[in-house]
């Protein structure tokens, strides 16, 4: 059996970077990825089957069949869900994880994000806690990752709210007509705005070319390889070191422990999609970075005499506090086109409502949006009082696809310990491994913050020249999806 200094499960934003840092430091690393190394062509440009709009399937894993989860709805009824269904809370499963198909906004946390329990107090029923580290602890690493992976932005514009020592390595994306409209609106409101930091090469960087400004950032792979994920930055570096063995299509089943309860390695299924074979690898260090849901699942499935509730779960904390981002949003119609067809499309943001909003715990960022394919626009962005069919619908699409201004942004999710991942022993995946079961909702304070931010989005659109504005009030639900976090807290 092979022995490693570290075994890493998952090749996304967490695992990919850890693999690079350890391998370049001379450690022998086994890096496991459940999905495949997908080419640009394999990810494709299917408008109905991608990680942004997944009506009939998606393009970056996991396979639709054989990978169920259980979702418990607000009435307490369990449903078996497939990976492309909303209640599955999927994130991509392929080399690079979510970073293969993300939009690649590269926000830092702001200093107050690390001490929200101290700043606001803990709302009743919430598990809000301060981080055991501060912004200052993390700042040098933000800088390092921005420079090593490549982030385009304007540090000066953000400096007053999110302090930094060094600017971004790449200039921000160019403004478009939507940027100008929103910048004018923000000026009239007295709001501070900045370009949106993006992990996109606005100029050639790291021996890869610049962005060609296509319309397919979120949910798709980049045609010019100018979008920086782990698959084209840190993982190639890890492999080039000669110290990292990467195995794709390898499904991690269980963290193995010895008779004294200490971690000794991992068991996994190689060639998991075609001819699964159980393998074991040895290491005293096993790093689980498979996203908040699957990471919790592996820990909970790693039971033994010493760990009868799963690994690290003596206090019933693993899997709790599942959180993601509610995304308040609003739309408005401008008198003129605000669309120049130049991607990514997201270009201007305000972070001034991240904190210090009266009566609100936290707040959030607001920005314009990535270019939406017309069918996304049809599903997502039409006014609620517009008929869904007939000539009025068609003419709205024709007249307003280029005139609609979009503003949206994530709010800090206020954690609820009952929003959680458990394991359902009665439902198993294609390999017979018990699957993740998702239940509960985010905390009601999240809804209050989301409604506050929705109102700010409406303000911004009106100030920018939209006479007709529409948006839906946020609803209490479980949040997770592609921004999932929270199930394996530090310190527990």
């Amino acid at each position: 059996m092979k022995d490693f200094d570290a075994i890493i499960v998952g090749t996304g934003a967490g695992g990919g970077i850890v693999a690079c840092v350890l391998a370049e430091a001379g450690k022998r690393v086994l890096l496991l990825e459940r999905g495949q190394a997908l080419s640009f062509t394999e990810v494709g440009r299917d408008h109905l089957r991608n990680q942004r709009l997944a009506i009939y399937g998606h393009n970056a894993g996991p396979d639709i069949e054989g990978n169920p989860r259980v979702f418990v709805d607000p009435l307490g009824i369990s449903h078996i869900v497939k990976p492309h269904e909303l209640d599955y809370h999927n994130n991509a499963a392929c080399l690079g994880g979510g970073t293969r198909v993300y939009g690649a906004q590269a926000w830092r946390f702001s200093p107050d994000d690390f001490r929200m329990a101290t700043k606001y107090g803990v709302p009743a029923g919430s598990s809000l806690a301060d981080w055991p580290i501060t912004y200052d602890d993390l700042e040098p690493y933000y800088e390092r990752v921005e420079w090593e992976l490549g982030v385009a932005g304007d540090g000066t514009a953000l400096e007053t709210q999110i302090p930094r020592k060094r600017s971004y390595p790449l200039p921000p994306v160019l403004p478009g007509p939507q940027t100008t409209a929103l910048r004018n609106g923000a000026r009239d409101l007295g709001w501070v705005v900045s370009p949106v930091p993006l992990l996109i090469n606005t100029e050639p960087y790291n021996n890869r070319p610049a962005c060609i400004e296509c319309k397919y950032c979120v949910g798709f792979a980049c045609p010019s390889d100018a979008k920086n994920g782990t698959q084209n930055t840190v993982i190639p570096r890890a492999l080039a070191s000669g110290n990292c063995e990467l195995v794709v299509d390898a499904f991690a089943e269980k963290i193995e422990t010895d008779a004294s309860g200490k971690v000794i390695g991992i068991s996994y299924l190689s060639k998991s999609s075609t001819a699964p074979q159980r393998q074991e690898a040895r290491s005293k260090v096993v790093i689980i970075s498979g996203g908040a849901i699957e990471s919790a699942r592996i820990l909970l499935n790693s039971k033994s005499t010493h760990h009868q509730f799963g690994l690290g779960n003596e206090h019933d904390q693993v899997g709790r506090n599942l959180q993601g981002h509610l995304y308040p949003r609003a739309y408005g119609i401008m008198a003129h086109s605000v669309f120049n067809g130049v991607g990514p499309g997201v270009s201007i943001a305000t972070t001034q409502f991240n904190h210090d909003n009266r009566g609100i715990v936290g707040g959030g960022m607001l920005a314009d949006d990535f270019i939406k394919p017309p069918i996304d626009f049809w599903y997502d962005s039409l006014p609620p009082d517009l008929p869904r069919w007939g000539l009025r619908n068609k003419q709205f699409m024709r007249e307003n696809y280029t005139r609609v201004l979009h503003v949206r942004g994530p709010v800090q999710d206020i954690p609820n310990p009952e929003g959680r991942v458990t394991v359902d022993q009665s439902v198993q995946d294609r390999w017979g491994i018990p699957v993740a079961k998702l239940s509960g909702t985010t905390h009601e304070e999240t809804i209050i913050a989301a409604e506050f931010m929705r109102e700010r989005a409406v303000d911004w659109l009106r100030a920018s020249g939209c006479e007709t504005v529409w948006s839906a009030r946020p609803e209490l639900m479980l949040s997770g999806r592609q921004h999932q976090a929270g199930t394996c807290r530090m310190g527990h």
Partner: protein, 137 residues
């Protein structure tokens, strides 16, 4: 699909996305899109969908004594509005509202998604909306 169902389908789709100086749903290939989907992702819904088309035809015959396809646009629209809101006058074997939602959404998918799906022939809706008119391809 019978010839009558085919005619009803075409007539229904062309009220959902009617022709103006840009093609309607049928000319833009939404029928091709649906044919492909009913052999693939929507294979399990074909019986349901055909029951909906039969329901629309029955509404026309019961109310106006004519095939749906032979009615004028305003008469067709008022039948479709009834189906959309579930206020049908004949006895349906399926939920009219659920059928209508599926029918409208799949029509939009065929009209606005990428032409490789079988619809949106010549990427005509992308020219109409401006999606393909501006910026790099």
């Amino acid at each position: 699909m019978t010839e009558l169902q085919q005619q009803t389908l075409q007539a229904v789709l062309d009220r959902v996305i009617p022709p103006d100086d840009f093609p309607g749903a049928w000319e833009a290939g939404v029928g091709n899109y649906l044919a492909r989907q009913f052999e693939g992702d929507l294979a399990s819904r074909i019986t349901f969908y055909l029951a909906g088309l039969d329901g629309i035809e029955a509404e026309a015959m019961a109310g106006l004594g004519k095939h749906f396809v032979s009615l004028g646009p305003n008469e067709q629209d008022s039948i479709l509005q009834r189906v959309e809101s579930g206020k049908v006058t004949t006895s349906w074997t399926i939920s009219p509202e659920e059928f209508f939602k599926l029918m409208v959404e799949t029509a939009a998918e065929g009209y606005y998604s990428n032409p490789e799906q079988g619809g949106n022939l010549g990427a005509i809706s992308w020219a109409m909306t401006g999606f393909s008119k501006y910026g790099p391809v």
